[in-house]
């Protein structure tokens, strides 16, 4: 049908927008991991602080995406980056905090106390215990958090087109404003397929990163 | 009361048909406890579930009190039978009171009557109604939950109780206590009970009749003592254990094994008098008691030959005594502990009541008993 013709005719544009889209999500989630995982590890020290941090992150996630994008604008206008790439990346970074922090925190606190005991008994210092025992066990769950963050944010980045960030959302927005179902469906299809592909792709990575001995347990921790 | 006639159950699985139960025929008299016993997968649970039609028999007839269970709507049938499962299964969303009132409500009881019944049942199982009625299962200990589970099954006062490994989920120490409580309650309520177990000791302790299953067949249906004394085949002999004679000892109280009454001597009596009494009956020992009749020591014929003086001078302190109320297994255990072949027995006040001997016990075991009488404590 005509949509198919449209897609075939515009492959380069679709490809370019996909790259744009992925770069926003990729950079943002990447940074989110660099900030979120350490925070997640840090809050395992104190339950009260953990509750507060998790609550704040959850609150941020309840803010509708367009509202958050919108709020970025006046704030970042001061440095002349009100619209476009930066506010999109920052907003996506904020949205990724909750899944990553929460999964890191949960994964580490759920490490079997017996393992911690064994590690301590063997003479491991807390840092060694963290890097050699707790983190490797926590990795699959953290990856599940990253996966959730990526999938959600692929969808949210589609909305970022409204603050000039481009990406695949542009097809959808043009499709709406020009009442052009071809563009609209192209955009919707592209973003959906991207999200599904990312989900499965990251699931594969998650599985590869799971230490052999834990593979069977992975079934229980993969995100729905 | 509960009669199974040629009951069979065949399951169709992807791997072919599996005969879970084959031609089971047995009858549980009213007011008795029947334990269905056997290894995993032997068909005991399947048989139990056919009585309340959670599993539909492939063929055969099951009657309760003369009425064919097939004549009833299975759901209504189940409301007249109490059912207790291994995981207890108290509904976490309901309070203890609501849990107990489930079947009465299903039967259309008046709410006030149902609530009163719940309070009454809680009092019976030693849980203060005012405290426990409004609690939720997650706020009870495992033992408490188990008792409430039994109370729930008894709420509508059903004549029949079916239990599937009801005490399995409790730790061994509490299990003993709860089993004893259940037996006490049963003595009062006299329900007809069928319960599944895989523990021979539990079966021996609780049952009036035991039904042993293997691979879907009923191998033997007998009283616990008969089962232990006369296992029908090698499998059952192995299942009940090589120590089955010792297990039988648990079924009998010391009082039943007492030798005919024997004389005693007092501390101040002459040793010659002791010798005379022993010679009269051809006994090798005689027990010495204090003024209240409590056994203190004994005198041996060989040691006292040609001796003179007060009995107490030639006596040896008794290593141990055993109460009339204890079971023979405990008695034999004490005998082994002190390397003796006889024991002096005392009643509840500690007064000498007679003695038991190893040969006497062995003689007793060779006879077969009526069940039920010796289980009473």
């Amino acid at each position: 049908m005509e949509t198919l013709a449209f897609i075939l005719a515009n492959l380069p544009a679709i490809g370019q927008r996909t790259v744009q889209h992925l770069s926003i999500v990729g950079v943002a989630v990447g940074l989110a991991v660099l900030t979120g995982v350490p925070i997640g590890i840090a809050i395992t020290q104190n339950k009260r602080v953990a509750d507060v941090v998790l609550y704040v992150a959850a609150m941020i996630m309840t803010i509708p995406s367009i509202a958050l994008f919108g709020i970025m604008i006046p704030v970042l206008s001061k440095i002349g980056q009100g619209i476009g790439y930066l506010p999109a990346v920052i907003a996506v970074l904020l949205y990724s905090q909750l899944p990553i922090i929460r999964n890191t925190y949960t994964a580490i606190t759920n490490v079997d106390p017996a393992l911690r005991e064994a590690a301590r008994g063997m003479g491991m210092a807390p840092l060694q215990r963290l890097s050699q025992v707790e983190l490797p066990i926590a990795v699959p769950v953290i990856m599940a958090g990253v996966r959730i963050a990526v999938v959600i944010n692929i969808g949210i980045t589609a909305i970022a087109t409204y603050i000039g960030a481009g990406g695949l959302g542009a097809f959808i927005s043009r499709g709406i404003s020009q009442t052009d179902p071809r563009q609209l469906i192209t955009g919707a299809l592209a973003v959906s397929l991207l999200a599904i592909a990312a989900d499965y792709g990251l699931l594969w990575v998650q599985r590869r990163l799971t230490p052999r001995g834990l593979r069977a347990r992975l079934v229980a921790t993969s995100a729905a | 009361m509960i009669k199974l006639e040629n009951v069979t159950k065949v399951f169709d699985t992807p791997a072919g048909s599996v005969v879970a139960a084959q031609n089971i025929s047995m009858e549980v008299p009213e007011g008795e406890i029947c334990v269905l016993l056997g290894p995993s997968g032997c068909g005991k649970t399947t048989t139990l579930k056919m009585v309340n039609r959670l599993v539909q028999p492939s063929s055969g007839k099951i009657t309760i009190n003369g009425k064919d269970t097939d004549d009833y709507d299975p759901v209504e049938l189940r409301r007249t039978i109490g059912y207790v499962i291994q995981q207890i299964g108290l509904f976490p969303n309901m309070t203890v009171e609501q849990n107990i009132c489930v079947v009465p409500k299903l039967l259309g009881w008046d709410m006030a009557k149902a609530r009163a019944r719940a309070a009454e049942l809680l009092a019976t199982i030693n849980l203060e109604p005012a405290v426990f009625l409004k609690r939720y299962p997650k706020e009870l200990s495992g033992g408490q939950q188990q008792r409430v589970g039994v109370a729930r099954a008894l709420a509508a006062d059903p004549p029949v109780l079916l239990m599937d490994e009801p005490f399995g989920a409790i730790d061994p120490i509490n299990r003993e206590v709860i089993q004893d409580e259940f037996l006490k309650m049963h003595r009062r309520l006299r329900k007809t009970v069928m319960f599944v177990s895989h523990d021979i000791d539990e079966a021996v302790k609780m049952a009036d009749k035991v039904a042993i299953f293997r691979a879907g067949k009923l191998e033997q249906f007998d009283s616990p003592d008969n089962l232990l004394a006369h296992p029908a085949n090698r499998f059952i002999a192995d299942f009940v254990g090589a120590d089955r004679t010792l297990k039988r000892l648990r079924l009998v109280k010391v009082a039943a094994a007492l030798e005919p009454p024997s004389p005693t001597v007092a501390a101040a009596d002459d040793v010659e008098r002791a010798m005379a009494l022993m010679a009269e009956r051809d006994h090798k020992y005689i027990v010495m008691v204090d003024p209240q009749g409590r056994p203190q020591a004994y005198l041996g014929r060989d040691a006292c030959r040609n001796q003179a003086g007060a009995a107490v001078k030639h006596s040896t302190p008794l290593p141990a005594t055993v109460g009339l109320d204890e079971d023979l297994r405990a008695a034999v255990s004490i005998m082994f502990m002190h390397d003796v072949r006889w024991l002096a027995c005392v009643d509840a006040d500690g007064v000498f009541a007679g003695y038991i001997t190893q040969p006497g016990i062995t003689r007793l075991l060779r006879e077969t008993y009526r069940t039920g009488v010796e289980n009473v404590s």
């Binding site: 996630m61 803010i63 367009i66 509202a67 589609a158 409204y162 | 499962i85 976490p92 299903l106």
Partner: protein, 242 residues
């Protein structure tokens, strides 16, 4: 438990306080700029709430029964594949869902409500399904053994024990709903999105904030509301929070 309740209220108040503070600090015009739109805010908020309430309510009314239906033994074989399909459907970005509603139903409030309804459906269906399946089988066995009919088992045992998880699903669904509602403006459904998008287009931060702030506050409020309802409605025996 009371401590975390207190912590939460304190947190929400702090959140609102910081926000208001931030605005007051920028009171150099921004505050007045927003105030300009007061009547719009009023009107559009009502529209916004209407969209959320209708689509959310319909999502609950449809989602819970569908979830229950999928959990029945008769549906065992097809249920998993249906859930898979629904899961894939959930990865479709909300913007796309709204846009596709437009291609199907045109513009206006109806396609907006339809789109929001679809977007909110999945978490409710999935959680209801998972919640009922998560009720240990021995509860169902005990209930059947006591003489309950399948429908009674569902109503008295399965659903109450699944309630907590179901409510979690409703909470997620409504969060998605409130978050997507601003997009309704794009297809003519009205709501606070009007202020946000127009504010961005015209480069008027005041207008944009006049839309964004109430939207954010509304989202937080709805979340707290559902949380409270869930806390009180789920019986103590099955409520891990009580």
């Amino acid at each position: 438990m009371q401590r975390s309740w207190l912590a939460r209220t304190v947190l929400v108040l702090a959140f609102i306080a910081t926000f208001t503070l931030g605005l007051l600090v920028q009171r150099s015009g921004l505050f007045d700029q927003i105030a300009k739109y007061w009547s719009d805010i009023f009107y559009l908020t009502r529209q916004h709430v209407r969209l959320v309430a209708i689509s959310g309510g319909l999502a609950i009314l449809a989602g819970v029964p569908i979830g229950l239906a999928l959990s029945r033994p008769a549906m065992r074989r097809s249920a998993e594949s249906i859930m898979q399909a629904l899961n894939i459907g959930s990865t479709i970005p909300t913007l796309a869902v709204i846009a596709l509603s437009m291609t199907l139903l045109g513009i206006g409030a109806l396609p907006a409500i339809f789109g929001l309804w679809i977007a909110s459906l999945l978490p409710i269906v999935r959680n209801t399904y998972a919640g009922v399946l998560g009720v240990p089988a021995y509860f169902v066995e005990a209930a059947e053994g006591m003489g309950m009919r399948p429908l009674q088992v569902l109503a008295h045992v399965e659903v109450p024990n699944a309630l907590f998880v179901t409510f979690a699903g409703i909470r997620t669904a409504l969060a998605i709903n409130v978050g997507t509602a601003p997009l309704a403006f794009l297809i003519g459904g009205g709501g606070l999105g009007e202020l946000i998008f127009t504010g961005i287009d015209l480069n008027e931060p005041g207008m944009m904030l006049a839309g964004a702030v109430p939207t954010a506050l509304l989202a937080v409020l709805v979340d707290l509301l559902v949380g409270a309802v869930s806390f009180w409605l789920v019986p103590r025996g099955v409520n891990p929070l009580r």
